[in-house]
Symmetry: D2
């Protein structure tokens, strides 16, 4: 059987499966499940094209990994077949632990970070594949001695980010978020064991950082997207409460499982994991569709709003939301929608979003100068000013 | 409130909502539901990017309609505001009667054609909107005296096809299917009451017909897509049987409704329609996910195969499938999968697909020559040979 | 005769000629001459695709003008047919005064700025066209009372820049320079008589300013491009000296004209202008090709280097080039190439390039906030830091 | 010195120079000269973007060669470093023998075919490079035992065609001519020593053949392009006559050389070749610019028309142009333009253009079926009908 399959990818044209084990992994239900998890959750309510999945992202990131490895090899870096394969496996599986709606519900269904879940699932796959994923897991965890292989998977310049910025920009149609991923990859180099960018690539890096900032404020933190995600979080939180109180019937088996157990009970973790691997966006959307007719006002309100796209209003502010203002909003909502203040309160949420264009204190981007010195990006004269943007928000139902 | 909203569209860049009533229609749950119906059903199992929805297609076709109207006006055609608005409404709503997975399940859940359902729903909306859709409905039905307005919605060169070919090619990543929609639109003209293409556009038309043929054989009738759709049809058919026999519990309310009633009972039509407007891809996928654990072997086999993407094999043939061959396949499947011959038979299907590059006997493409004569496309010397391609197929489970 | 011609444009797809007078102007030899003047001079020696002409740019900028006018009209701005036509004419002709190699030789053949020459030629055309360009000229000069029409032609956000950034990025293949011209145009508005950008467009503006900076340093001031342009300037300067001394024969009539006269003699201006309208890139390149065999070492060296693409080395520095360093370079060049120090000196040049990301003191970009206030872009919190980048350079022959 | 240079290419993004000798060849004046020869001659008078050069095409075709070799290697074909390098050299230099305006003037300045001139120049380069091009020359001539290496350079599916169709479509803006070059290359295979296409690539091949036909009729044989090229041929023919008669002074050295000698004198061939390597589009355009003021009516008329873009009219006809019609045209032109009948006759030309969509009798496209048989494309049921299109034309001055 021919396992050198080629996928058509609207973003890169073609993505070639580099070898058999990758092919077999893609066939596995854990990876196939990613076909049913959208990359950007409810973003499509604002950008109708943003329906791409974690599956597409996993293939895309793997494609960029093969390009990066090719470039590094062409610059004289020794990379064994086994290392190349392991790096591809690690990036293919890096998001396997994402649940429904990716980040929006992170930590809410299972109280665990998706990277930890990814690792657990990779270990389970390693058992199934007779240890063939061991090196991939070492690289994923950062335990392998060639640290730069881990950096290709997780750092300021990893192929994960390159693919998702590229792909999210493509599918949302926000072309200002487009990055020169191919040029950035061509400028990568390993220098004294570290992943660096050659000096002549700094404008591509600048473009990348600005594009990323634009994607944050124009897409990821877009007010309507934020509103939808807050509504979803409220709906799931409310559902768990109602379910615990015996006031909600669920039709999704895996949802029942994760609602009935606690990640903090060690004995619950295995069954929760198994349920998790059967859980995807469809469980949540069917739950919302059915909840449009539920007797609880709050749940019904949220579910109907999400399905019919009548979304909350979001107000952004540079300073914290004052308590007095919050009270005003509660009263206004209660009055407008003829709800009790308790219900109104339950619908309203607050929070804070912070983005930083480039934060060298956390993770640096290393530039290799022509004189062979390495400087941090922020050391390049007058190119970047670190910009931290903070926005507080309050989110509440509009009167219709 | 500003209703001149702009949508980002990866295909066209931007789509502008031309006026208030269009905005209000888009907000209606009937149109919002199209966000949950993929344009190409299960095609994404072969082309992972093909996840775009009927909602995007509706907006895109409306966008092309505004372009076409602008072009025709610039060539001196008188088109009133009301006509332009009605044409936009008609195209926006032309697919509102599509059910889950669009064509794949057409006629299977409700025994009605999607265009009739679209019309019924448009009439319902017309009531809600106080008669504001009357002209749109006339145009949609072909009752309006300017027949070319109907031709823009439904003919060999309608904006429906221009958008879907364009969009399906874009999202599947099959760039050979890309068409020069903008050039074709710029070449449109009304000549003696008929929609025609100016002579200098014939190469764009040829490119369009070939691209269409390629999309048929490379995407719409791709063997794996065909397999997945046949499996889905089998699964739904089996589900209805089991449900009728009391052997299947359904969690989707609207599925229960449509399975419990018959479109041939006139009194059932209204409740079926209402259920239909609550039915979308998610009901079907959740049904499949749950059916992976059902006791009926056939249903379980089909559901698991679709969810885990273990799809049937399709064999194509220019001649009809011989009975003897069919029997061989049944035996082989029964043996390989350790099934009874009855079950094996129930999993196997046959059929026939026909495409024609250009069928002037059905609907012609009129070319306006420089000397002002109109000829049918097939009358242009040696450009087109009508090609009818017929493929019989047999579709059956692979051994894994 | 049909004058509603459509041009194919790789950048925008199609450019439609909006009316007859524009058609007739495009046919005029003054505009046709722009077909023989590249937009980016010698940039193609580094970016082989950058061969696009002032003619394409003129059409492209006109296209964006029609889009901008359409957007402003759709937002309720009254713009008469005559105003729209005049704005299109003004932008079509805004670069008509550019000479061979555009900016590279600006002021060197004729001691005049290209905008003044554009105005002179527009006035000449106005005579030929019986005064039909009067309003266009008023707008071009900024004399028309609707100042924002002039701002569309010349300001921080004019369609000139939008087209050239877009086009230069497209043809050079530096996709980091791509801008969201369509989104920026859709965000334009006239507010109290001023051209402004709506607040939701600020990320597109930020993207635009960064893209512009990238185009400056990656393309316009690319070291090799800078080297080639310095060589060209030297070659022309040397040619004028030799011609004046009777040591150079020229075969280009218009070159003889402009070398024999002085722009400071008022009586010379008319014949110089006429010669100028016959001068284009080809005169210069043929001069260089022929000068490869000239007896003057300096001219021969420069001409051969340009034709065979053996270009000078450029060194950039944040501080001024020290005199001692310059002397070292002269000696090194003299020794390496076996030239006298005089000749070596004549080949070496120095200079300084400055770019500023956004200089609100010179020309501002006005943002229209949602509360209807107008602020300068730099007033938007933490978005932009004004960045002035200065680079001194020294440019000298490499040893081959 | 780093010779692994990367070129930005608007068509492919990046083109990487694969090794040192290729780098050195690109630096050679013979290859640099291709920067001054446009790929499509005067086509830009109709498609203003079509200004790309033979230099870009040479790099692009070389890029596709590296892709093709990579694909074939990945399918198990053994290709040595030396073979890969030679194939790249051969394709890089395959058009080095093209003269000014490529095909338009082919055989007119030198009575030799460009492929023969390419070979002569490659042999000269082989001397300069100490025999390093011997294998490349063998492949180019078809003398190397692996015939498919030659087929990659010259056959129905060579990378030459793939690049030029792709590139010409890109720069002309005729997107209907776009081909899926990447998919076609991915479908190439060597089967029993022959270059074949895998069966699943047939729709890409069909798209390619139709795109090619469209490019022929929409671009290469576009009426205005044909007119311009006929005018150029007339102008050069007239120039040679006048020069021979001592009635024309030429300023271009190489033009004088080729006009003074004859390719049929063997002793003239070397000096003609040397002149030829100094001849490019600029010599011809300068000659036209200067000829606008020449005393010969015919030459002046043609030169002015070409420079000011007042082009001839072309009439196409399926049958031959009748003698009587020709006489009528002569009379009409003579009268309209107040010319003698002799002069009018000298301006008028006739000819015939033939294209064939696919001519298996000349060169076949071999399809590798899944059962390992090879069939000619035309053997695939009902896909292709061989279409030969013939057009006679007559070309004459319009009255202005």
């Amino acid at each position: 059987m021919n396992k050198r399959k080629i996928f058509n990818d609207p973003v890169y044209g073609f993505v070639t499966i580099p070898n058999e084990i990758i092919y077999d992994l893609i066939q596995h239900p854990y990876v196939q499940r990613l076909r049913r998890i959208t990359q950007l959750g409810l973003t499509h309510l604002t950008y109708p094209g943003a329906l791409h999945t974690r599956f597409q992202h996993a293939l895309g990131a793997m494609h960029l990994m093969t390009l990066a490895i090719e470039v590094l090899k062409s610059k004289g870096e020794k990379i064994s077949e086994a290392e190349a394969e392991a790096a591809c496996i690690a990036i293919l599986l890096h998001d396997i632990g994402h649940g429904p709606f990716s980040h929006a519900l992170e930590g809410l269904l299972l109280d665990a970070h998706h990277e930890d879940l990814s690792l657990m699932l990779m270990q389970k796959l390693n058992d199934e594949f007779g240890g063939a994923l061991s090196l991939a897991i070492d690289i994923f965890k950062g335990d392998y001695h060639k640290k730069w292989l881990h950096e290709l998977i997780s750092s300021q310049l990893d192929v994960d980010r390159l693919d998702y910025l590229n792909r999210d920009s493509f599918y949302s149609g926000v072309m200002e978020g487009k990055i020169g991923y191919d040029r950035i990859i061509k400028m990568l180099k390993i220098h004294r064991g570290q992943l660096v960018v050659e000096e002549k690539g700094i404008y591509s890096i600048e473009n990348y950082l600005v594009a990323r900032k634009i994607m944050y404020w124009q897409v990821y933190l877009h007010k309507t997207v934020l509103a939808a995600e807050r509504m979803l979080v409220h709906a799931i939180t409310r559902a768990r409460e109602l379910y615990t109180q015996g006031k909600l019937e669920l039709t999704s088996g895996p949802m029942k499982e994760v609602f009935s157990r606690s990640w903090y009970n060690e004995s619950d973790q295995v069954p929760m994991m198994l349920a998790f691997t059967r859980l995807d966006d469809h469980d949540i959307i069917m739950f919302l569709k059915q909840s449009q007719y539920h007797e609880d006002t709050v749940l019904r309100y949220l579910a109907t709003g999400l399905i019919q796209r009548r979304l909350f209003r979001v107000e952004l502010s540079e300073s914290e939301i004052a308590d007095t203002y919050r009270l005003q909003v509660v009263e206004r909502v209660a009055k407008n929608l003829a709800l009790s203040k308790d219900v109104a309160s339950a619908l309203i949420s607050e929070g804070c979003e912070v983005t930083e264009m480039y934060a060298p204190d956390q993770e640096e981007i290393r530039i290799l100068l022509k004189n062979d010195a390495i400087v941090d990006l922020s050391g390049i004269e007058s190119v970047f000013s670190t910009q931290r943007i903070t926005r507080h928000y309050i989110c509440y139902p509009k009167p219709y």
